[in-house]
Amino acid sequence: MAKYLLLKHYRGAPASINDVPMDQWSPEEVSAHIKYMRDFAARLETTGEFVDGQALSPEGTFVRYDGEGRPPVTDGPFPETKDLIAGWMVIDVETYERALELAGELSAAPGAGGKPIHEWLELRPFLTEPPTITE
């Protein structure tokens, strides 16, 4: 099994094909989208492939150390051009192909007009624990 991080972006990913802001959809389309996302996670739980999923607030801050005895320096909110993560899902699957397949399914979530959003999701493999047998 291999773990992958599926990243969804508020900003920073290439534009989706069906790229309409959610508040411009019909209420039924909003509900259908939410149901699709929930069902997707629920199904992965039943197949034993779901690890974790969280949504993030768009508010965020950069922070860094500023030397002994000083409070940390903060920066933000981010400029419009900045990459901004909306949420993630961690999956644990047999193969890379399976990870691609699931990411594709998630990207097909319905949006405006009930048609798939074709949203770009980022798929990132986890670095693994070293194996016990190395030769």
Binding site: P21, M22, D23, Q24, W25, S26, P27, E29, V30, S31, I34, K35, R38, A55, S57, P58, E59
Partner: protein, 381 residues
């Protein structure tokens, strides 16, 4: 064998051990062990005196632990000090335990965890699941909390207000897992109410009951939120509402108003309306005035503005809102709602979408997005 009966006895057992000379941290661990043992043994071999059984087993565990990490002399001194088991002041012990677990030196998260474990008798795993953190993390939080209160005298009376804040957090910010934290908070507040006659304990119990009674109507089968005005009121638990109102009236009769009683009074007025249109908004605004007077809380002012929008019309609500800080949580959502009521649909749609972006949780975000979508669809005609 009823696990909740077992958990109801747990605080008194800790109290007995502490009065026998055990330190709180070790006593609490020993009682957890005894609870686990009871769950294993009692189904086949129920004891005649459950509390006596737990005290005996926990005390043995405590002695084992003391033997493991203290000198022989200390242990013998403890055994000799052990008073004869007697009827003991169970109510007082339970009350002291609430004070200790909500001690002001603890952070709110630590006080919540410690209260659920020592007073509530929940296992570390159950608490960890409920707050979505790893079990090892929760175990550390609890043991750090115990170290923090290690020097606190068990017999010193504490401040009921700190205990109420902890119980309110358990009720209001419980997440998930196999333990119903809202129900657990009610159980703990009810237990506290039998140990002390403080009006605000009754006020908080009433508040919890009145909100819990509406829970079945608050979400649809698909998990989406249902605003109060749209709730199917036949789903409200009328027995729980009746109990909440009764508890509240008894508290109010003592004429020592506090924030929880005022909040419960508002909840009771909502519960009293057979449909949203029958809601007595004028009285609700008066109770918000009381709440603002007592707490000075900006959140109470925000809610008051929304209530005023119902009592005196959306323009009055918007005027009250204009005096508040727009950075307040849910300010934009309240503004969106009042703008819609005032007929300014374009602003309402824009504000709902903006509120969705700053929503603190997913169900609220989804709800606000749907509101924006609904009004935009209306505007498109």
């Amino acid at each position: 064998m009823d696990a909740s009966l077992l958990r109801a006895i747990a605080p008194a057992v800790i109290g007995v051990l502490v009065r026998r000379g055990a330190d709180f941290a070790t006593a609490e661990d020993a009682v957890q062990d005894a609870l686990v043992e009871a769950l294993r043994v009692w189904p086949d071999d129920p004891p005649r005196d459950p509390k006596g059984w737990l005290v005996a087993v926990a005390w043995r565990r405590f002695l084992d632990a003391a033997r493991a990490d203290s000198s022989r002399r200390q242990r013998e001194a403890l055994v000799e000090e052990q008073p004869a088991p007697g009827p003991g002041a169970a109510a007082d012990d339970t009350l002291q335990l609430y004070f200790l677990c909500a001690h002001p030196s603890l952070t709110p998260a630590s006080a919540v965890a410690l209260t659920l474990r020592a007073v509530g008798g929940l296992t570390t795993r159950q608490i960890a699941q409920a707050y979505l953190v790893p079990e090892a993390t929760m175990a550390q939080r609890i043991s750090r909390a115990k170290r923090t209160v290690a020097g606190v005298r068990f017999d010193r009376p504490g401040d009921v207000a700190t205990v109420l804040r902890v119980l309110y957090l358990v009720f209001n910010e419980g997440y998930s897992g196999d333990v119903d934290l809202a129900a657990e908070a009610i159980r703990l507040t009810r237990q506290l109410a039998t140990a002390t006659r403080h009006e605000e304990v009754a006020g908080l119990l009433a508040l919890m009951l009145l909100h819990h009674a509406r829970r079945p109507a608050r979400t649809r089968a698909d998990g989406s939120l249902v605003p109060l005005a749209e709730q199917d009121r036949s789903l409200w638990d009328t027995r729980m509402i009746a109990e909440g109102v009764e508890v509240l009236q008894a508290a109010l009769a003592r004429d020592r108003l506090g924030e929880f009683q005022a909040q419960a009074a508002i909840a009771a007025l909502h519960a009293d309306a057979h449909c949203a249109d029958e809601t007595d908004w004028v009285q609700i605004v008066e109770w918000y005035d009381e709440l603002v007077r007592i707490t000075g809380s900006p959140v109470a002012r925000l809610n008051r503005a929304v209530a005023l929008g119902e009592a005196d019309g959306p323009r009055a609500g918007l005027a009250a809102l204009a005096e508040l800080d727009p950075a307040l949580p849910r300010f934009t959502a309240a503004s969106a709602y009042l703008h819609e009521r005032a007929g300014d649909l374009a602003s309402a749609a824009r504000l709902y979408a903006e509120a969705a972006r700053s929503a603190p949780n997913l169900p609220e975000r989804d709800h606000l997005t749907r509101q924006a979508a609904r009004i935009n669809a209306q505007l498109r005609g």
